[in-house]
Amino acid sequence: MSRFRIHRPFEEELAKKADEFSMQPSLSTWQGVEKSIAKTRAIQTYWKIGILSLSIVAVIGILFIQDDRRSTASKTTETAITLLPPLTDQPLTSKDGKDSPTTHGAKINARAKKEKSVPAITQMKTRESLQGSSEFKTEKIVLKNIIPKKLRIGYKADPSSEASRLSLRKRPPSFRGRDAWYVQVNYGPAYAYRNISARTDYARPLEDTKKQLDKGVSGFSARVQARYHFSDRFSLAFGIGYTRSGERIGIAPKKDSKVYDALAETYGYETTEMNTPGDISYYTNQYSYTELPVTLYSKKPLTPRLSLTTGLGLSLGYMSKTNARCYDYRIDHYVNNPKFLRDWSVSSHAQVLLEYSVNTRWSLAAGPEFTYALLSTYQNYYTLSQHQFSAGMNFGVQWKLFDVTKSRLAE
C-alpha cells in the first residue's frame, strides 16, 4: 500500500482535503478507551499476582513435601535401629531355622549395634543401603506388629535414651494447656479496590463517573496475633492488625456545575479541578485501619509437617490515617478527608494457607487472602455507598510460646 498515490488531480485534491480534516473527540471516548485498557491492566495484574502466588505456593509445597519425605525416611531408619533393644533377648532363629518376624528384627538390631562401632560415614552408607533394601521394608512391618504401643509412644521409656527422644518427636499433635498457645505474625501485599453504589437517584451520574474513572491500588495488611489450638484441627487467633486499602480516583473537569457556579458567585470565583478545563486529575485515596482481627482456623494435615489451613474471620477497624479526596454533594466540590468518612469499619477475611512445621516450635504459612468491608467507607447519610475489598497473598510465621516437648523431657 502506498498512501497519497496520485492518480489524477481529483484523487490528489480529495486526499489532501480529507487529510486536513480533524475533529475533537468527546471526553467519554477517552474514558471508554481508558476503562478498557485499565481493565486489561487489572486482568494482567490479577494474572501476575495469581501466577506468582501459585508459583510460590507450588515451590514451597514441593520443597516442603520433599523435605518431609526425607525426614520421614530418616526417622524410620533411626526408629528401626533404636527401638529394638527390648527384643534382643529373643532367639535369633525359629525352630525350623527360618527367621521369624521377631528374630528378623533382632538381626537388624544386632546389625545396628555393629554400626555404632564403625565410623560415621560408614554408618550413613549402611543406613542408605538399609533404606533401599527389602530388609528395611520388612522391618517397618515387623515394628508395627511387635513393638508394644507404649514403647512406640515412648512416655514410659527411659527419658535419657535416644529411643525415648525419638518417640517423643513422633508424638501426634495433641494440644493441652500451655502447649496450645502460639504467637503468629502475618503480612500480605494485596490489590485493593472498592464496590460503589449510589444511595439516591441524583447520585447515579457520580456513581457512573467513578466507576469509569476509579482504579484499584496496591495495599497491604499486617497482623500480630495469639493463636489458641483448642483441638488438633481447630484454632482461634486474635490480636492486632494494620491494613491499608484505597483506590485511585479520577476527577474530570466540570465546567457546567450550576451549584458550583452559584457558590462561586456568592463566595468568589476559585480555580479548582471543578472549573478548570483540561486533563482529568488523578489522586490515590488511602484508608489505613488499625484492626482487631479474630480468625477461626481449620487445619487439615497433608503430611506430618504440611497442612492446609483455611481461616475465616472478622476485623473491627478504626480509620487511623486517611488521605482521601471525596466528592461532597452539599458544596458540589471535592474535599480532602471529609467528615462523612466512617471512623469504624467491620470487615471479613478468608484465607487458605499452606502451613509447614519447621520444628516443634516454628511453622511457616503462605497462601491467598481475600477481605471485604462489611460497612461502607462513608457514613450512611452520604450519597454513595463504598465497600472496600482486597485480594492478595498472606505470608505468616507461627511460634509456639511454650515448648512442652522439652519440658517433658526435662521431667
Binding site: M1, R5, A18, F21, S22
Partner: protein, 189 residues
C-alpha cells in the same frame, strides 16, 4: 521524533499519562478519518474508541521502522471497516441519477471547497461507495487490497469506485453551478 519514540515506549510500559498524551496527540485526526467512514459522529467515536483500544493492545508489536501515524491509521481504518462490516449492510448499488451522463470528476472544485464540505460530500455517498472511495482515493489501498478487506471481488471494487466517483462528479458539477448547501446531504440512519 525522539519524543514520539519515548512516548510510545512509555505507552508500551502501560504508563497511563503517556497513553493519554498519545491519545490526545492523534485522536482528533483519527476521528476525522473515522468520520469519513461512519454514518454519524457517535459511530465515528465508537470506531475511534475501539481503534485506540486495539492500538494500545498491539502497541508492543510496533517495530519503530515506519511512520507511527501510518501504523496507527491502518489500525483505525481496519477497525472502522470491521465495524462497518459488522453493523452495516454494505450495498453496492448504482444510484447515480443518470447512468448515461457521467461527467469527469474535477479536482479544481474540491480545491475550492472547505475541508468539512469535502468530508460531508464524501459522507453523503451511499455506504458501499463511500467505503471504497475512502479506501482507494484517500487511503491509497489497491483494489485487490480493498477486495480482501471488504470480502468482495476486485472487479466489484473497481466498479464501485467508478460509480462513486461518477456520483461525486455529478454532485460537484451541481455544486460548481449552484453552490454547496442543497447537494451535500449527510445521511444519518
Amino acid at each position: 521524533m525522539r519524543d514520539e519514540i519515548s512516548l510510545i515506549e512509555a505507552c508500551i510500559k502501560q504508563n497511563r499519562a503517556a497513553q493519554q498524551k498519545l491519545y490526545q496527540l492523534y485522536a482528533p485526526k483519527m476521528l476525522g478519518v473515522c468520520y469519513r467512514y461512519a454514518s454519524s459522529r457517535e459511530e465515528a467515536e465508537d470506531m475511534l474508541q475501539e481503534g485506540f483500544i486495539r492500538v494500545f493492545q498491539k502497541l508492543d508489536s510496533f517495530r519503530f521502522e515506519g511512520s507511527f501515524e501510518g501504523w496507527l491509521r491502518r489500525i483505525i481504518v481496519n477497525t472502522a471497516i470491521n465495524i462497518i462490516r459488522k453493523y452495516q449492510n454494505l450495498k453496492y448499488e448504482c444510484d447515480i441519477d443518470s447512468a448515461e451522463y457521467t461527467p469527469a470528476a474535477s479536482g479544481d472544485v474540491i480545491a475550492s471547497m472547505y475541508t468539512r464540505e469535502v468530508v460531508d460530500l464524501v459522507r453523503s455517498l451511499p455506504n458501499g461507495y463511500r467505503t471504497v472511495l475512502n479506501l482507494y482515493a484517500i487511503e491509497g489501498y489497491s483494489h485487490k487490497e480493498i477486495a480482501d478487506m471488504l470480502g468482495i471481488n476486485e472487479s466489484s471494487s473497481r466498479s464501485q469506485y467508478t460509480r462513486a466517483k461518477a456520483l461525486l462528479a455529478k454532485r460537484l458539477e451541481k455544486i460548481e453551478a449552484f453552490g454547496i448547501t442543497e447537494h451535500v446531504k449527510v445521511s444519518h440512519p
